[in-house]
Symmetry: C2
């Protein structure tokens, strides 16, 4: 007898990234798959130090249930950091911790989406977000981008045409997967359109502190005058993703809803982890750590770009991001990167095919390569093998 | 302009427990509210030790992304422990870690419930589960209990009458809030009815290892011959709730769905925390820790019962649980415990009114008292003050 699952389960497929992650657990595989930070630079000794201190000074509270919105001193530190990208006029009460920013994505759909509602997103967009939203049975209207962000006339058309748009989902800095960044002007226009059509913006911004070239931009939320931008941030890329601490920053009307959802979903994030990160930020300099990471990632990006230019056919277009963890590669039209994947895996190399980043289809000739997790010699070796696979195919 | 939230948000109210938790942050309040473990017995020194060891031996993996289902050595330890309550024929592949068992409740609804579907539950039932399920717009059919569990004839009537029952939700050991435990015979009958009507059972069992009197019972899942029982467990009550590690144990068809949901919801639980608990179980004796907790809680339960008998009017019925963290109290019909609450809070005492545990209304004269978190002298003091409030009212 078959079990009767909810209708939403028909929409939910395994995350390509998570499935590639499984394949790449074999140590011989050179993986450009998941957006994994360089683990050789994790602050392991510092974590020992801060854990001892937290358990010594505040051990009982660190192991006990705590408030749903989270540990206040750490929320205050998040507020300070958000101020640097122009998000002003907020307090710790505007911040709620989530289990990574992935949970912020899930909650965004849960707070806003009824079946059949529309999410507007960039084309292509982050597949982890697409999968999270699909569980709430939404439709996607994906808007093409140029080098400054979404095309505003097409966005406005979509807002006019679809009265049930619940939010516009954007990754304005080093977009996942294309690496594109929105111009300051386009960010302002986005907020103006959201105001005009009374919709919400979900600004997913996990990478903005990892910039290797170009000038920093103010957050989309910095232009928010009507509390309609929900900002999702995370310590995953700047500190450590295994700790699962992200946050939602929003005005009180909206954030109260996220708080109610958090209560039912899992009560709160880990009490100890919040204190560990907070203590780290008190005892050490997170900015100096990020500066070091930027040097490492900038070099790895450069090595990957150079090796791709050397080993990939000339027709291949490499999109170089100013920051973040990924290069986005467009192969000639006749190359299907999903079909290519097993051939490349035979050579013990992995990447993420681009198609799952297109919620309404397309992008079969694209792929995402992460340069963050592999040391330079492995990047060279992996891209060389990838180039061989391409030559065999062409 | 009002924001357009999802329809489900109309169903979601703040958790009474979480709200009382906020009120009781003032140190002068004697709280019998949340089911909080006694924090003076948290294994703080042991946590220092195991954290150093984990970071020393496996620091990179402890801070990196990991598999969605969780850290295998800890899943294997969960399998061993579940074997002790008769759950056999499972492996680590049948276990998925969740952010506390609260997340297992949320996922259960997400996997099975379409709007209008029916959840059958005990009357009364755990309010955190009711709130989690309500977010998926289900209806509740609540079945009365006697001292052996749900009344089976009423359960069968409900299964006959409602073709869209998606699962039966039960807390078979020291039920939250009533403290009742299901008899072995009734557990078998429950599984037989689920087989007959092809429905799923969600067995929520956070307290079974905390038994103070009576004989241990096999899990409902131990009688499962068709992989239709989903077992939810947690380290919150036996180890530390702030660490947010619970688990789902189920057959592969159902567990695969939970795994997909976990990917979209928040990818995975904390990599470090899983290793901390695992290392603790390797270096220390969790059973001996639980044995010590049982001694503490048994005494606290006894002190609370005796003081209630002394200070509460004779008509008050005190239900004494064989385990868990709560006493369930039935006051005379004319006492409304929600209205009584502010008067008791004035005396700096808190409990949880019973009404929110009744998904379809009722129980206004009932209340739940947790005896786990307060030392004996505070239990005596708090119940004495509560008795005074009652006398003023009567």
């Amino acid at each position: 007898m078959a079990f009767k699952f909810a209708t939403r389960m028909k929409n939910i497929k395994a995350s390509t990234i998570r499935e590639v992650l499984k394949l790449t657990e074999r140590p011989e595989v050179i993986s450009f798959g998941g957006g994994m930070p360089a683990e050789e630079f994790f602050p392991i000794d510092e974590m020992k130090e801060v854990t001892l201190k937290v358990l010594e000074e505040d051990g009982q509270k660190a192991l006990q249930y705590g408030p749903t919105d989270g540990y206040r001193p750490l929320r205050e530190k998040v507020v300070e950091r958000l101020g640097r990208i122009g998000i002003k006029g907020i307090t710790a009460d505007n911040v709620l911790f989530t289990s990574g920013s992935q949970q912020g994505l899930d909650f965004s759909a849960k707070v806003f989406i009824d079946p059949g509602d529309v999410v507007i997103c960039e084309r292509p967009s982050y597949l982890g977000a697409i999968n999270a939203f699909k569980a709430y049975e939404c439709k996607f209207v994906d808007i093409p981008m140029d080098d400054e962000g979404m095309l505003m006339d097409q966005l406005e058309d979509a807002l006019k045409t679809h009265p049930n748009v619940k939010f516009i989902y954007v990754i304005p800095d080093f977009q996942n997967p294309t690496g594109k960044s929105w111009s300051t002007e386009r960010r302002k226009q986005l907020v103006e359109l959201a105001n005009k059509y009374n919709t919400v913006i979900v600004e997913d911004n996990p990478y903005y502190e990892l910039r290797y070239s170009g000038e920093p931009k103010p957050a989309v939320k910095s232009f928010d005058t009507e509390d309609r931008v929900v900002f999702l941030g995370t310590f995953s890329k700047t500190f450590a993703p295994g700790l699962r601490i992200g946050w939602v920053c929003a005005g009180s009307e909206i954030l109260n809803k996220y708080n109610l959802i958090k209560q039912g979903a899992d009560l709160q994030v880990n009490s100890l982890t919040q204190r560990q990160i907070n203590k780290y930020m008190e005892l050490y300099d997170l900015d100096s750590r990020i500066k070091d990471l930027i040097e490492v990632y900038r070099r790895r990006r450069e090595v990957m770009v150079q090796q791709m230019k050397k080993c990939f056919p000339e027709e291949v277009k490499i999109n170089i991001a100013d920051g973040g963890l990924f290069l986005w590669v467009e192969f000639p039209e006749h190359i299907n990167t999903t079909e290519l994947m097993p051939k490349v895996l035979e050579k013990n190399v992995a990447y993420i095919p681009g198609a799952p980043f297109y919620p309404n289809g397309g992008g079969e000739n694209t792929a995402r390569f992460s340069f963050s997790a592999m040391p330079e010699e492995k990047i060279i070796e992996g891209i060389t093998r990838m180039g061989e696979a391409l030559k065999e195919l062409l």
